[in-house]
């Protein structure tokens, strides 16, 4: 602008209150809260006449809230603003919709599983005991065989997947040229492998072992192989991410000191990324530890204690929860109870793994990692 305009504004002194051209009709600040409260109250009143239910109340309130806010905003403000407010309401409701199943699942599994989750349940092998003298079958509640099975099967799967996964990621980041056919193929296959249905992995392990060992091929190791198929791509992907985060300057600094590529990778790159890699591995474990279908296809299920992964059926907590529900003993209530107990134990394991993984990621991430 020119100088005259500036001078102009300076000389013109305001006389009285100046109406601000930028204001427009606007709803009060907390209108959304008021509308929500109103919608809740009105729908409660309506439902009180027809018959009250929590779900109906929430649904009716949500609809009422969106409609009234839309109308209010259209009348007082304008249609564009009204659309904006209604969409904001919609996405918020979408989010609440996702929180409901999460909370509901956790609450249900805690309420269902807490009564059976005793020390005995964790440390005793469950099953039915036949007493020949009284001819009575008594059910022993216990998940020890499943706890051991879970640890062995997941442990062996981890032992298989982690070295392969980390080394493959090292190949992709440190050795391969990005345009090389092998690097591109592996990257693509890893992406596609993350989408393999878990039951297909189980069927694959079963096929492999029946062809190698014969018809009675159920074993914990077979289940571990199935889980490895699911776990390797997750480990590759997360390790790859972490290695890429290590700045190339560190590698160059190391090379410039006359350090070999091997020593650079093992003693500079991996230590820098190790927290992230461990986090990724733990998240991968927490993902496969809850798998059900591939394990009972490959390892079947059993209530007998079996700690040998190379022979005989083996059970995990997830399979136990499924089998206790699907194939209950005569005492159905007790079987369901035991299913809930196994499910809660499993959820606890998964949550602990997740928490530890996040803590490691937070606490041990070295500075210098972007």
């Amino acid at each position: 602008m020119t100088a005259t305009t500036v001078a102009d504004t300076e000389t013109r002194a305001p006389r009285g209150p100046v109406p601000n051209a930028l204001t427009s009709a606007q709803l009060p600040r907390f209108v959304e809260l008021y509308t929500l409260a109103g919608a809740l109250a009105v729908s409660a009143a309506v439902l009180a006449m027809t018959g009250f239910s929590i779900v109906g109340w929430l649904v009716l309130s949500a609809v009422l809230y969106l409609v009234s806010l839309g109308i209010l905003s259209t009348v007082v403000e304008n249609r564009r603003k009204a659309t904006d407010r209604v969409v904001r309401g919609l996405v918020t409701i979408a989010f609440l919709l996702a929180v409901i199943p999460l909370v509901s699942t956790l609450v249900t599994v805690i309420i269902g599983g807490a009564p059976s989750l005793t020390w005995d349940f964790v440390t005793k092998t469950g099953g039915s005991v036949f007493d020949p003298s009284t001819l009575k079958v008594t059910i022993v509640q216990g998940a020890w065989q499943a706890v051991v099975g879970t640890l062995i099967i997941t442990g062996v799967a981890t032992l298989i997947s982690v070295p392969i996964g980390i080394l493959a990621a090292i190949y992709l980041v440190e050795y391969a040229q990005p345009q090389q056919w092998m690097a591109r193929t592996v990257t693509f296959l890893v992406d596609v492998m993350t989408g393999i249905p878990s039951i297909v992995a189980g069927l694959f392990a079963f096929s492999l072992f029946t062809l190698l060992v014969g018809p009675k091929a159920f074993s914990g190791f077979s289940a571990s192989v199935a889980l490895s198929v699911l776990m390797i791509p997750i480990v590759v992907r997360s390790t790859e991410e972490m290695l890429k985060l290590v700045s190339s300057e560190l590698r160059e600094a190391s090379f410039a000191l006359g350090v070999t590529k091997f020593a650079t990778i093992v003693r500079v790159v991996l230590p820098t990324a190790i927290a992230g890699i461990i986090t990724g591995v733990m998240l991968a474990i927490s993902r496969v530890i809850g798998e059900t279908a591939p394990i009972f296809i490959a390892a079947s299920f059993t209530s007998n204690f079996n700690a040998n992964p190379f022979s005989g059926p083996m059970e995990t907590l997830a399979v136990k929860a499924y089998a206790d529900y699907k194939f209950p003993s005569q005492d159905i209530a007790a079987s369901y109870q035991s299913a809930w107990g196994a499910a809660l134990l499993l959820v606890l394991l998964v949550v602990i793994l997740n928490l530890v993984a996040r803590i490691i990621a937070k606490a041990f991430a070295p500075r210098g990692l972007r």
Partner: protein, 259 residues
């Protein structure tokens, strides 16, 4: 310790793209040589070929010879790892290893090459290198703390200490002060002046005052246009380059008419 560098007719390629063409020069021991020139003229690329660091970039290769006291870096069977132990490098951005303490950073070259060394030798090497990098007095009380906790200038001197701890013959510096404030820059320049007693130093810089302050000889690189290879235009005593250069382009550049 200090060695002479002889470059004979060196071309540098990125895949099929000729990045630097036909460079020949001799760098005397115990001197500081500055490379100047506009961005993209290939001076950093050329610097990296002096210790084969360009090989880190996929597709980069050279044709020609680089002799260090008569040994060709590019002769068949030469191990780039051994080359880099003789020709150290300091980078644009200070890059101490984030997982290591100050002490371990200095010892990194020795330790990562898994050379065993008694603790007393380690201690004296750490002190010698840090003193050599003018950093000893500032960090001697916190050698066990991570190197990333130091200031930018201190980190860069730590990187220099790390580079001289493997006792190289030549030190390459790729714009070592471009990320530093004037005071830290001055500290590094003073250090270069001292290091010259023991090492052959080659420094790439965008700062022409810096070139006049620290270097004995200056090489001016230029590029005819984008997509064309960079060339060595003129190489002479620093005083000559900045007062009466023989090529018009050099004069235009050092007098600030372009670049």
């Amino acid at each position: 310790m200090s060695k002479r560098i002889n470059v004979r007719d060196l071309d540098v390629y990125y895949s099929d793209f000729l990045a630097v063409e036909g460079v020949s020069m001799t760098i005397e021991p115990r001197t500081v040589t500055a490379f100047i020139g506009p961005s993209g003229c290939g001076k950093s690329t050329f610097l990296r070929t002096l210790n084969r660091m360009h090989e880190v970039i996929p597709g980069a290769r050279v044709r020609g010879e680089v002799l260090i006291d008569g040994d060709n870096l590019y002769a068949p069977g030469v191990d780039p790892v051994l080359v880099r132990r003789q020709v150290g490098m300091v980078f644009q951005r200070a890059n101490p290893f984030p997982t290591m303490s100050i002490r371990d950073n200095v010892l990194a070259g020795v330790k990562l090459n898994s050379r065993r060394m008694p603790k007393s030798d380690q201690d004296s090497l750490v002190e010698r290198s840090l003193r050599g990098a003018n950093l000893w007095n500032e960090v001697k009380d916190r050698l066990q703390l991570p190197g990333s906790g130091l200031s930018g200038g201190q980190q860069q001197r730590l990187c220099i200490a790390r580079a001289i701890a493997v006792s190289p013959d030549v030190l390459l510096m790729d714009e070592p002060c471009s990320a530093l404030d004037p005071i830290s820059t001055l500290a590094i320049e003073d250090l270069i002046e001292e290091l010259k007693q023991d090492y052959t130093i080659v420094i790439v810089t965008h700062n022409m005052q810096q070139a006049t302050r620290v270097s004995d000889k200056t090489a001016f690189f230029n590029i005819a246009g984008s997509g064309k290879p960079g060339r060595l235009i003129e190489y002479d005593d620093t005083a000559t380059i900045f007062t009466k250069p023989s090529v018009q382009a050099t004069e235009d550049y050092v007098s600030g008419r372009f670049g």
